[in-house]
């Protein structure tokens, strides 16, 4: 899309949308929101950037390879918190029973494993949405020169 107004507004809006998404993820245990919605907001902001410019500019900000690595690391962070509880001597994904400090309810750094798990889910959902959109848009154009 070759429209200078859309480009300028989307570049100006991008950090605010991402900041709001990060706020929704990090306050998931205190207010409505959580990993899924915050991750979708961050992913939608990157998709907006890639739509208003073009795919090359979008992949310059966050390359395909980085988003695949981020996606796997989100799930690994989640499963790693579960395995940590097993190492501490309780069930898979135990929180308070495993001895993880839960802090004062109402503070930002409270509720132990919930915050870390929400952060992992947020990373995972954001990179999943970005990767899905990139691969749906680009298709197999990169391979066509080789085979045809």
């Amino acid at each position: 899309m070759e429209d200078v107004i859309v480009r300028y507004i989307s570049r100006m809006l991008l950090p605010f949308v991402q900041l709001y998404g990060l706020y929704v993820i990090l306050n998931g245990h205190l207010s409505p929101g959580g990993g899924f919605s915050g991750g979708a907001i961050i992913g939608a902001s990157m998709i907006l950037y890639a739509l208003s410019f073009n795919l090359e500019e979008g992949t310059k900000k966050l390359s395909h390879k980085t988003s695949t690595i981020l996606e796997s690391s989100g799930v690994l962070l989640y499963a790693g918190m579960g395995l940590l509880s097993i190492l501490l001597g309780t069930n898979f994904l135990g929180n308070k029973v495993a001895g993880i400090p839960i802090g004062t309810p109402g503070n930002l750094f409270s509720s132990g494993a919930i915050m870390i798990i929400t952060f992992g889910v947020g990373i995972k959902v954001a990179s999943t949405m970005i990767t899905l959109f990139y691969s749906l848009i680009e298709g197999e154009e990169g391979h066509e020169d080789v085979h045809h």
Partner: protein
């Protein structure tokens, strides 16, 4: 049961009733349209109507959203359907994404996204 009684029951359960109407509309879209993207949108309408039904089950009259305020006693709504529906929304989005990738692949292969047209190109009997 008289007609007045039935209408008043439907008024009390208005969310359930409209969820059923939306379910039927989505099902009709999915069954009668040949365009595959229309079928996907109809499936999404069916999804959201069932979510509306579930969230309406969890509502308690005069209840507040389940964000606790320590030290006060208040009525909260039922948090279990909300937690289940969060899972359902994400699964619906992933199903939509996979179906769209299949549609893009079908368009590359056959040059159309019409189900009847694809059936005809494959040499099958048109309905």
């Amino acid at each position: 049961m008289s007609i007045i009684e039935i209408l008043s029951r439907l008024h009390q359960n208005s969310f359930y009733f409209f969820a059923i109407i939306l379910f039927i509309i989505g099902f009709h879209t999915m069954l009668t349209h040949d365009n595959l993207i229309k079928k996907i949108i109809g499936m999404n309408i069916m999804d959201t109507s069932i979510f509306l039904f579930f969230v309406a089950i969890g509502y308690v009259r005069g209840g507040r959203a389940p964000i606790l305020e320590p030290g006060t006693t208040q009525t909260y709504i039922n948090p279990v359907p909300s937690a289940l529906i969060l899972t359902g929304i994400v699964v619906g989005v992933s199903i939509t994404a996979y179906a769209l990738s299949l549609i893009v692949k079908l368009y590359k292969h056959y040059g159309t996204i019409d189900a009847e047209e694809i059936m005809r190109l494959r040499g099958g009997e048109p309905r």
